[in-house]
């Protein structure tokens, strides 16, 4: 089972990176979503898979009666998802603000911080 | 609405008290709660709720029936090899003015076979309805007025 998930993780990572490499920031953002989902799935697979048994203890018992899914990776993923949401939301806000201010979504044309002309060595020292 | 919530709360308490969580038990609790509320509240405040509740249940039944019919109609239309539909957009004037009533009507219309509320006229006095199976636009308008609008008005006023 994990093998399939591993392949899916690879495929999602690949599509994510492909999008991230585009010049358009919105595409970058979409790629980031894919990549981060892939990372979450990787954690999920890494904790080993168990079919359809949520890590809940039935009322009245002290421990799960049957083997249940590994809860720790789930907790990790939950944390990672929420953190990822925060980061992605910020990235989106950044993109919106950048577009408003810089007038483009093409990251390659954003050259304010690093102007394209090489700095001439012109100091008098 | 508040009373409805209180009623539900009462039903839940009933379930908890009796210790049985079955549906039957809940409904029993609801009925008991309804009675209790009707007694305690009397005529002063919640009068309409007690009269409205049966009508609301009626509306719900009507709604479910329509929904089922609508679903079946959709199935037939989708699955049959021959296209029966005659799509058209009809302007349906509204007699209702209350927001909630308009909303309910729109929901109902949308769930009726082959009809879909596209938009509300600028003066909020008419729906634009997309229909699939209507031959006669005027007949449809009448149907809406006498069927849906009346029930909605009864249940929610």
């Amino acid at each position: 089972m994990e093998t399939a998930l591993a392949l899916l993780v690879g495929a999602m990572t690949a599509t994510g990176i492909y999008l991230m490499l585009a010049r358009n920031l919105l595409r970058y953002l979409f790629g980031l979503i894919l990549f981060s989902n892939a990372a979450n799935l990787a954690i999920f697979a890494a904790g080993r898979l168990t079919r359809a048994v949520p890590p809940l203890v039935e009322a009245g018992l002290n421990a799960p009666a049957t083997p249940v899914a590994n809860a720790l990776p789930q907790a990790m993923i939950l944390t990672a998802i929420v953190i990822g949401f925060g980061l992605l939301a910020f990235a989106l806000a950044l993109i919106v603000a950048s577009y408003r201010t810089l007038g483009t979504l093409d990251a390659d044309t954003m050259r304010l911080a690093e102007p394209p002309v090489a700095h001439d060595a012109q100091g008098t020292h | 609405m508040k009373l409805l919530l209180v009623n539900i709360l009462l039903a839940m308490s009933w379930s908890a008290l009796t210790g049985s969580a079955s549906l039957i038990n809940f409904l029993t609790g609801f009925a008991l709660g309804y009675l209790a509320l009707a007694v305690t509240r009397g005529r002063r405040h919640g009068e309409t709720y007690f009269r409205r509740l049966p009508r609301m249940i009626g509306l719900l039944g009507f709604f479910l029936r329509e929904l089922a019919a609508s679903g079946l109609r959709a199935v037939r239309e989708v699955l049959s090899p021959v296209r029966r539909s005659r799509p058209q957009i009809i302007r349906v004037p509204l007699a209702l003015r209350d927001r909630h009533q308009i909303l309910t009507l729109a929901q109902l219309l949308s769930l009726t076979p082959g009809t879909l509320v596209l938009d509300i006229a600028p003066e909020q006095d008419a729906f634009y309805v997309h229909t699939l199976f209507v031959d006669d636009a005027d007949a449809f308008r009448d149907e809406v007025r006498s069927g849906f609008e009346r029930r909605v008005a009864e249940a929610l006023s």
Binding site: M1, I33, N70, F90 | -
Partner: protein
Amino acid sequence: METNSHTAVSRRQGSGRDAALTLLVLAAPLGATLWLLALLPDVRAGAALQFAISWVPSLGVTLAFMVDGLSLLFALLVSGIGFFVVIYAGLYLRGHPLLSRFYLYLLLFMIGMLGLVLAADLITLFVFWELTTVASYLLIGFNHATAAARRAALQALLLTGLGGLCLLAGLILLGNAAGSYQLAEVLQAGARVRADSLYVPTLLLILAGALTKSAQIPFHFWLPNAMAAPTPVSAYLHSATMVKAGIYLIARLHPVLSGTGLWEWALTLTGAATAVVAAVLALRQTDLKLALAYTTVVALGTLTMFLGSDDTVAIAAAITFVLVHAFYKAALFMVVGIIDHATGTRELTQLGGLWRKLPVTFVAALAAALSMAGFPPFLGFIGKELKYEGALAIATEPLLVAGAAVFANALMVAVAATVVLKPFLGRPGRQATHRDGPAGLWLGPLLLACLGLAFGLDTSLVADSLVQPAVTAILGRPETVKLKLWHGINLPLLLSVATLTLGVAAFAAQHRLRALMDSVAPRLPLSADRIWDSLIESLKSLAAAQTRLLQHGVLHKYLQTVFVTLALLLALALLHGGAPSLEWPELTIKEWAAMALTLAGALMAAAARQPLTAICGLGALGVGIALIYLFFGAPDVAITQLLVETLFLVMIAMTLHRLPLFSRPHHASLRRGDALLAIAVGCAVTAALLLALQQPFDPATRDYFERAAVPEAHGRNIVNVILVDFRALDTFGEILVVFAAAAAAVTLLRGHRIRSRNGNGNGNGNGNGE
């Protein structure tokens, strides 16, 4: 010249305070000199005074000092000449607004130099070595407003700094070979060091430090440029003391490192070449200070040349010459300073007939020049005789050394003549604006020049107490050195005569020689100064090219580089360790479906031509992933995934109308490289995951959580128990992230409004924001 940037008014106002300051500063060299003089008898008796405190015991570094013959000689030079220089500078820079800084640097230098020559620990020595470099930098750049001074300061700093770095490496290697940084132990470990497999690099590194500091060819060019410093600095640092630090170091480590062919040849050849070339260059100069600077280089070359040997006479010659040179050169520099002050120029061609106005200065200059030219009975004569004797005593290459010495000395005679005769006795040129000036100004040069005469007349003053202990220290064996004015007619005397003759001839022909050199010089392919410039330039263009290549400012190329690196690293690791095996997964159809939906959504997003299409793809992907979580027993995750994914997509949809569309479809063919790269990384991630999964899973923590959730944490949803209890800290951090992200987004989206409301505050302006 240096002081033209401030007004006479400030000069008058500050002069009282300046004098007080000078007196205060004067206490330092005076005290040091007196203390050192008091040590003379002990040292002459052969005692080496030790003083050590623990500094960095973890590294075996002690703050250790030692006074033996060699260090005492140099220390006395430093403090003694320092005394005169401070007096001189107090008047020379009177009223200069930065005089206190000048003294600070000068004192810093003095400390550095004294520490250097007195250090008894290699690392301590290095620390003070670098201190002199820094002080020199600050002093060369003292006239900071002029570009030339800044350039010269930088040049000196970089060159001696580079040398210093080599020296550091060399000293560390030496310490490793000797097993200690303690000088006493290092000096005992000569045989071991010379036999060490790293002897050659050790020696070369140390020499690199010494030779750059002492301005040996090909590193000689910084010294003439350093003449941009105020004259007291030139007199003190760049003739009498600091440049001799390299010489001191060579002498200091002589017992450890000398005695090999490499040592001999390296020092002799470098020294000889330096002496000869610098002598020629000295003659060419018409700026008095520059001419003197080149003669300093000559002197340093000569010293280096002699230190290559381990013959007693050669060493004695070197030591004597250190003294000789210090006296006359410091005096001459100060004389030049006085001329400069009085006339406003140092240009030989514009000066003449100054002896009338500057009679005392003239006397001092004459005495110093005679010593420099090696006329009896000045100490310079003794030094020269000793040099020739020493040169002839050098076993391996006496002719080379003697020849170089004669040639260099002859040209020194010519330069000495030029420096004194033309300005003071030549046809009157630019007039001096005032007379000799206050005594403090001419006292130093006069005294120093007279010392040259006095020591020449009574050699015992220096021979027993200074030269002999120093030679003993260098050679590591008790030596007896006798200095005599008259040896009788011998080969050295004949060489002296030849020197004088040649020198006079050169003086007579100086204009023709200078013209010749001026016509040749531009045709020479190389000058060290120009090479330096082009080195700096090529450094800058290399830096610029590298920056263009790496830090180009194009985001997608940055990302490409990052991912290429990642792919290569992972590929390397996988090739290194072996890829995991792949087995066909056993999945139910619904699991396949969920995965297919996920993948299809991903592909749809990747191929989408419009943002909303991509978002729809992501929506499908979100549902698919949620289903996967659901199928494998993670309902909490599934719900969260759905909610978060949706909220995010809603956010995008909310902002999308303010953003532009993708302008044109991105043809897959255009980005085949990116696709390959992406696939490579994807494969690597899969492989990494599979590798991790190969290991049998250790369930201890999982089991613990399942056991403890209900009885100890009172919760039946183990995931939630982990979140709020077992690992509550993670959750706490995570809500902070979300909070901060929200606040940051608010900042971004509202920032411009708040800013425009409040107006632009001060601070955080960006220089290149336009």
